[in-house]
């Protein structure tokens, strides 16, 4: 198996693996210094291919980037440079940026809301219990697959649902599972999932769930995303 994995360095560096393959290979990289070194070199090589197709972006893009960054808090990191204040962005080109800022703030609020909930069994325990024991609770299981056993218990009357999983594969440190509730207006984030021992998770889905939605789980960058950026690894259709 490992000799086969060794040949994936190129496909990994060129992002030509599926999400599942990529995660499996990243686990391999943690254990294989030779592949890790080769991946670094081939990633540098691929970046050179990227740099030669440079194309200046429209000038207005910077205003949008700046507005969104200004509204996006950075995770707590290194201590600030001593003796210097933060250098602020030059004043915004107000009108055009204002709307974008609003959009950006909602993303930020979401990002801020998520990391604190990175524990194992999220959501107050009694809320989870209340959903599981609700008289109208329904349990809908996903087909067993590579992501282990996954089910959602929904109480229509309470407007809440609980996500349950066991045997969830670990994701690399830079990534996380993220839940989404999908209805006709599209996916909305419903919380992050950090599997505990034996890949077990029980957590309340954030937001209102009435049983006419689908619940999906994707693998996202650590901290979560505002929209899914990859194909779901599992989907539970509550309408089933």
């Amino acid at each position: 198996m490992s000799s086969d994995l060794h040949t994936l360095t190129g496909a990994y560096a060129a992002d030509a693996l599926s999400e599942t393959e990529r995660l499996a290979f990243e686990r391999h990289l943690d254990a294989c210094p030779a592949c890790d070194q080769e991946v670094r070199e081939l990633t540098e090589t691929a970046a050179r291919l990227g740099s030669v197709v440079a194309l200046p972006p429209p000038a207005a893009l910077w205003d949008r980037v700046r507005a969104e960054a200004a509204a996006t808090r950075q995770p707590p990191g290194p201590t600030p440079l001593s003796g210097r204040g933060r250098r602020r962005f030059p004043p915004l080109l107000a009108a055009a940026a204002a709307l974008l800022l609003v959009a950006a703030i909602s993303v930020t609020v979401l990002n801020l809301g998520l990391p604190g909930q990175g524990g194992r069994s999220e959501g107050p325990v009694d809320l989870v219990a209340a959903v599981l024991s609700a008289p109208d609770a329904r349990r809908i299981a996903a087909k067993p697959g590579p992501t282990g056993q996954v089910a959602v218990v929904v109480s229509r009357r309470r407007g809440q649902a609980v996500f349950e999983a066991s045997g969830l594969p670990e994701v690399p440190a830079a990534r996380t599972y993220q839940l989404w509730v999908v209805d006709r207006s599209g996916p909305r984030p419903a919380g992050l999932v950090e599997p505990g021992g034996a890949g077990k998770v029980t957590r309340l889905l954030e937001g209102r769930v009435t049983g006419s939605e689908q619940v999906a789980m994707t693998v996202e960058r650590r901290g979560g995303a505002a929209r899914p950026t990859s194909e779901p690894v599992v989907v539970v259709d509550l309408r089933a």
Partner: protein, 195 residues
Amino acid sequence: MARAREAPAARPGGDDTLDGLLALVARGDEQAFAELYQRVAAPVFGLVSKVVRNPSQSEEVTQEVFVELWRTASRFDPARGSARSWIMTCAHRRAVDRVRSSESAARRDDLAGRRDQGRPYDEVVEQVEASLEREHVRRGLDALTELQREAVVLAYYGGYTHREISELLGVPSGTVKTRLRDGLIRLRDHLGVDA
């Protein structure tokens, strides 16, 4: 890091100055972020546009990339590679995520379309203009076997998975994987990359 703060003017374009900028960005330095944008917006937008192909989506993805750089700059580890490579990897990953999540049906049509249109390599060659780096990279691509080159170009510039490439070129996906590796290794040796 104080050294890095003074460095940019002295070494324009050098990757070591990008390292310094990223370290400042990680501390919330917005001027450094503006400078970083100025320095790498064109390579990022160019690569994203190449993969995503739709102009307005390319702008959206480029914006996502820079906000991600802003948020995650503290995770950049200079011991693990250059800042430029880290940034381009982030851009490529985001671009690929976008085309794979939002356009899977359209992409399949596109896959068929590309087959009729001939070699995607030609598109790249058109864009490769007279700069030393471009010439250097073009020669590197030229030095690959045809299958290596097609695999590398379809994966990196096209954003295709090895399975899609296998379908497109009519070769087993195991062959695509090894050609990708062989191709990038040969390119690495041609470009004198060290990491």
